[in-house]
């Protein structure tokens, strides 16, 4: 009945970036990624792993990468966190699979939030976790390769 409100996004300024902000709760894309997350689970033989805990709410995200020729060929994640944290990590992992590490590094939480169709304002910070964990994993890989971390 009021579904139109659920998915009504607004563009707002947040940390000097433009985000789509949902005025109320989670939209259907977010709920879909939360209840059926893509790439969820552990990866025993990962080439790189990055883990990040949010100082703000204790959300924790771990990202596992399989990398061939600088390309992310497989990705998995685990998250202890709210729906926003789970959904944005699910979306982020889905967006970087098949991408080069350079491309993956450039993915911002901004783009993830927009791909999700927006998040409630006070949940935006939860989407930083995926970006940070991904960066940690990529840098771990670079270090393993003897490269300077980005």
């Amino acid at each position: 009945m009021f579904g139109f409100l659920l998915i009504m996004p607004k563009v707002r300024h947040y940390n000097n970036q433009k985000y789509r902000v949902n005025t109320d709760m989670y939209n259907e894309t977010v709920m879909e990624h939360f209840s059926n997350p893509k790439n969820a689970g552990e990866m025993k033989d990962a080439d790189a792993v990055g883990e990040m805990e949010s100082p703000e709410c204790g959300d924790t995200t771990k990202i596992y990468l399989k990398i061939e020729n600088d390309i992310i060929t497989d990705i998995k994640f685990q998250t202890l966190g709210c729906a926003a944290a789970i959904a944005s990590t699910s979306m982020a992992t889905d967006m970087v699979i098949g991408k080069t590490l350079t491309e993956a590094w450039e993915l911002t939480n901004n783009e993830v939030v927009n791909a999700l169709g927006g998040l409630p304002e006070k949940k935006i910070h939860c989407s930083l976790l995926a970006e940070d964990a991904l960066h940690a994993a990529i840098n771990q890989y670079r270090k393993k390769q003897g490269l300077k971390p980005w």
Binding site: F34, C57, G58, T61, A83, A85, K122
Partner: protein, 394 residues
């Protein structure tokens, strides 16, 4: 999964709010359209409104053991708390500026006290033990000769802990300090007698006992020095201005009578369901911790921390299965940090984040309990499988 609506809604969040009982709605209905007169008016249809309000006032007074002219209708528990605390604080500031309350009060009390701190009052927020219970000895020690008000809730909305109100009331009486109690969660669950319990002011709210939202009451013992909070017309004997919420007041009166007719029978029925649910959860899910006191708690309240999960995630997954619960107080769900009540009883943050509250009500059945015991364990397993932090005991 997101879009499919479950066949049935199993509502287990009665401490957040209750549905208004259809019989209560039925009592209210004539006062919208037919007996709609303004109780302040003089013609007969308005006098009927006035008499209906008097009747509701008596219904409330009878439950609390006071006289009808000690009952004042408000717009809810929050307004009652604001009025009691600000009203006595400002009226008695020549006698002192010290207020004592607890760390686990509802925000309606806490944020009101914080406001008063900005206005020059000093507030002591009493600690509670691991079960959420105030120690009367600690209370006594915190009293100074500047103390004008003690406000301790009767039962906590998050963890259901019941306070030793009679003892606290005695201390307050002995020291000649006003005693207010937020009884919003207690009505219908605890027997109350304001005289026996030495209560000077008591807040209640209709929507917590199958009455309508937006109506409450404040009991003010005769002789208490308290100012008005809302100024204007001479309603409520000149103490609370504003055209009376006529259907709301009728609904409150009828609902409180209904909810307090068989308190012990009600508690027996509800607590046996609650215990079955709690036992079932603890049996089937490892590393679940009960928050609050095992016995000295509201008969309908379960508050558990499920290690390795997130309360919001649990709540949303239960919702997809048609089960309504809350994580922390409904009021503070907009906040990110762990609930102030769980912090006060020293639940570690990592555990507190996986907390949910299930509060049963009259409509819940044994089948509902079975259903929740069916759907909750796989949800917990799923969330734990998704979590990178697996340090819980299997």
């Amino acid at each position: 999964m997101t879009k499919s609506t479950p066949a049935k809604i199993i509502y287990m969040d009665h401490s957040a709010t209750t549905p208004t009982h259809p019989d209560v709605v039925k009592e209210m209905l004539p006062y919208f359209t037919e007996h709609f007169g303004n109780p302040s008016s003089l013609y007969r249809i308005a006098r009927e409104s006035k008499f209906a309000v008097s009747k509701a006032r008596k219904q409330v007074a009878d439950v609390l053991g006071c006289t009808p002219d000690e009952i004042f209708f408000t717009a809810g528990g929050t307004e009652s708390d604001n009025w009691a605390i600000k009203g006595t604080a400002f009226a008695n500031k020549d006698r002192g500026n010290h207020i004592i309350t607890t760390k686990i009060e509802h925000h309606a009390v806490l944020h009101t006290c914080e406001y008063l701190e900005k206005e020059g009052f000093e507030v002591t927020y009493l600690p509670v033990n691991e079960y959420g219970i105030v120690d009367p000895d600690v209370l006594i020690k915190s009293i100074t000769d500047r103390t004008i008000l003690i406000s301790v809730m009767m039962a906590n909305n998050e963890i259901g802990t019941i306070q030793p109100i009679k003892e606290i009331g005695e201390i307050a009486r002995e020291k000649n300090i006003y005693f207010h109690t937020d009884a919003v969660q207690a009505i219908g669950n605890l027997e109350i007698d304001v005289h026996e319990m030495n209560i000077d002011m008591l807040s209640l709210s209709a929507h917590k006992f199958y009455g309508p939202k937006g109506t409450g009451a404040l009991y003010i013992r005769k002789g208490i020095n308290i100012g008005s909070f809302i100024h204007g017309g001479s309603q409520e004997n000149g103490h609370r201005a504003g055209t009376e919420n006529l259907p709301g007041i009728i609904g409150l009166g009828y609902a409180i009578e209904r909810a307090t007719q068989n308190i012990s029978e009600h508690n027996e029925k509800i607590s046996s369901m609650r215990d079955r649910l709690l036992d079932g959860i603890i049996e089937t899910i490892p590393d679940v911790h009960l928050n609050g006191h095992p016995k000295q708690r509201l008969s309908n309240n379960i508050n558990i921390s499920v290690r390795g999960t997130d309360g919001e995630a649990l709540l949303l997954m239960l919702d997809m299965k048609g089960v309504c619960v809350s994580t922390g107080s409904a009021c503070s769900s907009g906040e990110e940090s762990a609930s102030h009540v769980l912090s006060a009883i020293s639940v570690p943050p990592a555990l507190a984040r996986g907390s949910v509250r299930l509060t049963l009500g009259n409509e819940n059945t044994k089948e509902d309990i079975d259903y929740v015991l069916d759907v909750l364990p796989p949800i917990v397993s799923r969330l734990r499988a998704l979590s990178p932090v697996n340090n819980y005991s299997q």
